[in-house]
């Protein structure tokens, strides 16, 4: 059989040059995504485009603060993505809570719940800064050092423990069930 490892440099080049982004604005930074994707900054030059289906996407942009309610969806969406997948965190909020450091409804250290590859400073980061982050993640993909998805697999227990601590055990089932009675009542 063919040794696919021989093709790994080619694959890495293709992965680097064709990052599809999950269309999920998780916070304020989402407002800088349209300029990035459209004519002015045009990320499609690097083969990037937003993709509505998480099954096809490679790159997850956490655009700013994350609330627990959103984080549940982020985790599910992240797990839907096929490997290899990468996460880029925008601005201060995912790193340390940002201006919401004392808010009861904003995540403080995102890395405890899902693995993040690259962090960008700024509130919110300029499109140029985001592009700089994307350049960084592209370099890392080419070197093979963007290994967040591997970390997630290896330390799944740890991540799951943190997630369960925050949301309570069995949150996936509970969240899916939450709305059903209301649909039934009337």
């Amino acid at each position: 059989m063919v040794d696919w490892r021989l093709f790994e440099p080619l694959f890495n080049y293709a992965r680097k040059k064709s990052l599809w982004i999950v269309a999920f604005c998780t916070g304020c930074g989402g407002i800088e995504m349209p300029p990035l994707m459209t004519s002015r900054y045009d990320l499609e030059r690097f083969g990037m485009m937003p993709n509505p289906a998480p099954r096809m996407a490679d790159l997850f942009l956490i655009t700013g603060y994350v609330t627990p309610k959103t984080l549940k969806r982020i985790i599910i969406t992240y797990e839907l993505q096929p490997d290899p997948k990468y996460v880029l965190a925008h601005g201060s909020c995912p790193l340390n809570g940002g201006i919401y450091w004392d808010s009861y409804n904003a995540i403080k250290h995102l890395d405890r719940y899902i693995p993040v590859d690259v962090a960008i400073a700024g509130c919110m980061p300029r499109p140029e800064a985001v592009m700089d982050g994307i350049k960084k993640i592209m370099e890392m993909i080419e070197n093979g050092t963007a290994d967040g998805w591997k970390r997630y697999k290896e330390n799944y227990e740890w991540y799951k423990k943190n997630q369960d601590e925050l949301f309570g055990e069995g949150w996936r089932e509970k969240e899916a069930r939450r709305w059903i009675p209301w649909l039934k009542k009337k």
């Binding site: 269309a23 999920f24 459209t38 998480p54 609330t67 959103t70 009861y104 069930r177 039934k184």
Partner: protein, 391 residues
């Protein structure tokens, strides 16, 4: 994840009342990971392609602003509260500042008022362009969307020059503005930009607002009538599209608006198309207002209130009382209710986002009977902005 069929099965076993069995309906979770909803979720009960029932599920962007504002000094709340409305962050800044001005009994200098008016109008233009982009993307005319986003960048550059930031300007503060106009060059650039966007409006008309298919897609869906809109507290362009001539800039004039000459568009249909066309006309009017303001020129004087209390900013105190200020944002009537107990922090700040009226109950009622393809269009035509529901 458990599948929906399993949940339905379980609900049946637990004796829950189920959906009417004669109709084959299913639930669709529309958002938050969806291109049309940004960060908002609607749970739809579907019968084929038709929506039978819709339930809005907000809260994905809730950070507890109103609580956090009670723990930060009066001044720094500006840096916090503007995050409530991301497409036009100047509006929360302006209403909060106006409310605090009223509490302090300050007479804001003319120059500051002029700058505030310009900033608010620029924010309106940029927000409408952003909305045009959204409408284009949701309808499938990506061309119009791409152009709108690109032309909006010109305004972003001007904002950057004036305020020092692209999106979160943190510019309007109680008692005036933070910086003066950088130079006359900036005013000339603003004039050029206004002319440029005015010129490009024809292109948007061609490809989006006068397009045959756009009209076919938007007419007759999401229809509101006048009484319904007033009962539901709908404001702004959505209300004007139902035939009510209401605009905060005319009814409760603030800043420089009494001196400006502009028309407000009113249509009677109350459908998505009417709402879109009202917004389209307002974009033109806002550019016209900016032109008038530029012709007027900035009044001379200070750009900030001269008050000794401003020296010790962190311990700056506001006399007890309450004030309500509201402005006309692109989404509707944006208001701030500020209560002070005389301390160095606000006692209570409530921001009234316009989307809380038209983004929950109105949306739920308008969606009933709509096709699944109309859901993003109705959502966009209402100008729903999730962060100001969630706060």
């Amino acid at each position: 994840m458990v599948s929906q069929s399993e949940l339905v099965k379980e609900a049946r076993e637990n004796g829950m009342e189920l959906l009417p069995l004669d109709k084959d309906t299913y639930e669709l979770f529309f958002g938050p990971q969806h291109m049309a909803t940004e960060n908002f979720s609607i749970i739809l009960k579907m019968d084929g392609h038709r929506v039978v029932k819709a339930i809005a599920n907000p809260g994905f962007l809730h950070r507890g602003f109103e609580k956090l504002a009670e723990f930060r000094p009066w001044y720094t709340n500006i840096a916090l509260l503007l995050r409530i409305c991301v497409p036009e962050p100047d509006v929360p800044e302006a209403i909060y500042s106006m409310a605090v001005d009223e509490l302090m009994g300050w007479e804001v200098p003319e120059r500051a008022q002029w700058i505030r008016t310009v900033v608010l109008e620029m924010a309106r233009v940029s927000s409408y362009l952003f909305w045009t982009m959204g409408l284009g993307f949701k309808l499938g005319v990506y061309t119009a969307g791409q152009w709108a986003a690109a032309y909006r960048e010109r305004l972003m550059a001007l904002f950057e020059e004036l305020t020092g930031a692209r999106v979160y300007h943190i510019y309007t503060i109680p008692g005036g503005v933070r910086r003066d106009i950088p130079s006359d060059k900036w005013l000339r650039q603003l004039k050029d930009t206004v002319e440029y966007i005015k010129d490009k409006l024809k292109d948007f008309d061609n490809v989006l607002f006068e397009n045959y298919i756009t009209h076919r897609r938007m007419e007759g869906i999401g229809v509101m009538d006048k009484k319904f809109a007033l009962d539901e507290g709908v404001t702004g362009p959505n209300l004007r599209a139902t035939g009510v001539a209401a605009d905060v800039r005319k009814l409760d004039p603030y800043l420089f608006y009494p001196e400006l000459d502009f028309e407000i568009p009113v249509l009677k249909e109350g459908d998505a198309l009417a709402r879109a066309l009202v917004r389209r006309f307002e974009l033109e009017q806002d550019l016209y207002i900016l032109e008038q303001l530029l012709e007027m020129g900035p009044p001379s004087g200070a750009y900030k209130v001269q008050d000794p209390r401003l020296k010790a900013l962190p311990r700056f105190k506001v006399p007890a009382g309450e004030a309500y200020a509201h402005v006309e944002a692109t989404m509707g009537d944006f208001g701030a209710y500020v209560v002070s107990d005389g301390g160095s922090k606000p006692y209570r700040v409530q921001i009234r986002g316009p989307s809380i009226a038209h983004g929950i109950r109105v949306l739920e009622q308008l969606l009933v009977g709509a096709r699944i393809a109309d859901v993003p269009v109705i959502l966009m035509s209402l100008g729903n902005c999730p962060p100001d529901i969630d706060r």
